[in-house]
Amino acid sequence: MENVIAILKNIRPEFDYAGVDDFFAHGMLDSFDLTVLVSSLEERFGISIDGVDIVPENFRSTEAIVLLLKKYGAAT
């Protein structure tokens, strides 16, 4: 969880991501950020996220991202 928050923080230092339910609804992630986020997660955890998993539900909160990483067997 901390790892994910650190990655998000690195992309948008101006926001506090912990405990937010929907990043997109609050304008905390846009198209540029999401591209960076996906490649950062892939790089950091050594995984390759399938295109069908790139849907809002999987990236809208830190919990959702952690769940997605678990699915790929990444140690968070």
Binding site: P13, D30, S31, V36, G51, I54, V55, P56
Partner: protein, 503 residues
């Protein structure tokens, strides 16, 4: 004889009043509805200003209302200048200062932002409460001729000052007539728009809708984040025509989702704005073997596109995708350093001649004179060419192949960026003494190398830049140096840095 782009729209709205013209995420408007709204906006404009052929800024998000505003401005006999609602206010102010629009069309909310930033209120026209009841459409537009401006689109300038490219009716008419004939567009076409309205690629989407009675779907921008959702949208809305930037097509191909969505009806797939890698094009081609694929090329200054290549053979994954041949009524010269026409396979600068040439940069005579110059191959009478700064060559088949830039302009996520524009604002960041901005073409990243007393927090630099630069211009890699390498004559050694940080 057509001399005004509005003639397309007027005829189409008469012929198919109830056909779906434009749709955003909220509403679907018929041509009649769009005409009525444009008329209402035009009536407001002519109450405020007597002027014709002057810019009216459109500061609105991408939605039906923005399209109606463009048409309303044209009906008032003026030209529209779309502004980026996501850009920092200071950049918008810099553009407004130079553009001096007679009016700004916007919403209550966005208008308030402009006012709090110091834009004078008499020039702001709020559209929220404007009713679109039936009424006569102003006829001031009928006084315009085909060399008058349609729109002014701003591009990055190398000294931190955006340039407003003034595009004419004749240029757009030639472009749209060419596209309609070449790609056989008719009223059955359903366009899935991607290009922002501040980007001139959107000209093709808009005017094919106006000219052919095609339906224009303003694809919600957030869908481009989620490739599966994007493709589902294309299927759901029966979209059969797209004209996208390669970045977006590459992202979709890379995520390997093209085969995962059923019911896609794409028939015509066009792209432009940056280099399209054959590898990704091939992924698209194998998914849509019967579709027409075309690579279009051109800078804003020659009215969207001046060359095209309809993919007509198998291309190896590492082969360049040609930018092809000149569009009808446009001509390309490839000039070497001596201003002579290049031979086959000889590299030179791509220059354009024809009625597609923009009238120039708004209020920037020096920049205009530098880019729009006398054709050196014609000493007999005045004839301007536009020097693109792009390096190309002609292959054995007569096709033009893009090589790179003569200067420090790059294309990043489809946006045209002068690296000097970024450097200009980097130098305003407290603590930074000097800087060099590079572009890593492989990783598609903007790299900032800066000289300072000590390492500066990237978050701080980014926040400082965010005040003046739109997001697509922010560097994503920040490298600190106590001293930047210099050439013998004291300039920053860009070549050295390029070698160090990779091409």
């Amino acid at each position: 004889m057509q001399i005004n782009v509005l003639e397309y729209f007027v005829k189409t709205a008469e012929r198919w009043p109830s056909k779906l013209a434009v749709a955003d995420s909220q509403q679907e408007w018929s041509f009649e509805r769009l005409r009525r709204r444009a008329g209402a906006i035009a009536r407001q404009i002519v109450k405020f200003t007597e002027a014709t052929n002057l810019p009216i800024a459109v500061y609105l998000p991408k939605a039906n209302e923005a399209i109606a505003s463009f048409l309303g401005v044209l009906f008032s006999g003026n030209c529209y200048a779309p502004l980026d609602v996501k850009a920092p206010v200071s950049r918008t102010q810099a553009i407004l200062g130079q553009l001096e629009p007679s009016l700004i069309l916007t919403t209550k909310e966005l208008g308030a932002q402009l006012q709090s930033a110091g834009v004078a209120s008499p020039h702001i026209l709020i559209l929220d409460d404007l009713q679109d009841e039936e009424g006569p459409i102003p006829d001031r537009w009928q006084e315009c001729i085909d060399t008058d401006p349609v729109y002014i689109i701003h591009t990055s300038g190398s000294t931190g000052k955006p340039k407003g490219v003034v595009v004419t009716h004749r240029g757009v008419i030639d472009y749209i007539d060419w596209a309609r004939d070449t790609f056989k567009i008719d009223e059955h076409c359903v366009i899935g728009n991607q290009a922002p309205l501040i980007f001139d690629n959107s000209t093709l989407d808009l005017y094919l809708c106006f000219a052919c009675g095609a339906t224009l779907r303003l694809t919600p921008e957030e869908l481009f984040l989620f490739p599966v959702r994007l493709l589902e949208y294309l299927a759901d809305k029966s979209i059969n025509f797209i004209f996208w930037v390669p970045s977006v097509m590459v992202a979709v191909a890379d995520k390997r989702v093209l085969d995962r969505v059923k019911g896609l009806h794409l028939e015509k797939i066009l792209f432009a704005g940056e280099v399209m890698p054959a590898k990704h094009l091939n992924v698209w081609r194998s998914r849509f073997p019967n579709a027409l694929f075309a690579n279009l090329y051109g800078p804003t200054e020659i009215t969207v596109d001046c060359t095209y290549y309809i993919v007509d053979r198998d291309l190896g994954d590492d082969e360049p995708v040609p930018i092809g041949r000149p569009c009808r009524n446009s001509d390309i010269l490839i000039l070497n350093e001596q201003n002579e026409a290049c031979q086959t396979a000889e590299r030179g600068e791509l220059c354009v001649r024809g009625t597609s040439l923009a009238a120039g940069y708004w209020n920037q005579p020096v920049q205009t004179a530098a880019a729009f110059v006398q054709n050196p191959l014609n000493p007999h009478y005045p004839e301007l060419i536009y020097r693109t700064g792009d390096l190309v060559y002609r292959n054995e088949n007569g096709e033009i192949i893009y090589v790179g830039r003569k200067d420090f302009q790059v294309k990043h996520m489809g946006y045209r960026i002068e690296l000097g524009d970024i450097e200009h604002f980097v130098l305003q960041v407290p603590g930074i003494r000097n800087s060099c901005v590079l572009y890593h073409f492989g990783e598609k990243k903007i790299i900032l190398v800066y000289e300072a007393e000590s390492d500066i927090d990237p978050g701080f630099i980014r926040n400082e830049l965010a005040r003046n630069l739109p997001k697509y211009m922010w560097p994503s890699v920040f490298l600190f140096r106590l001293e930047l390498p210099r050439t013998p004559n004291g300039k920053i050694d860009r070549q050295q840095l390029m070698t160090e940080y990779g091409k």
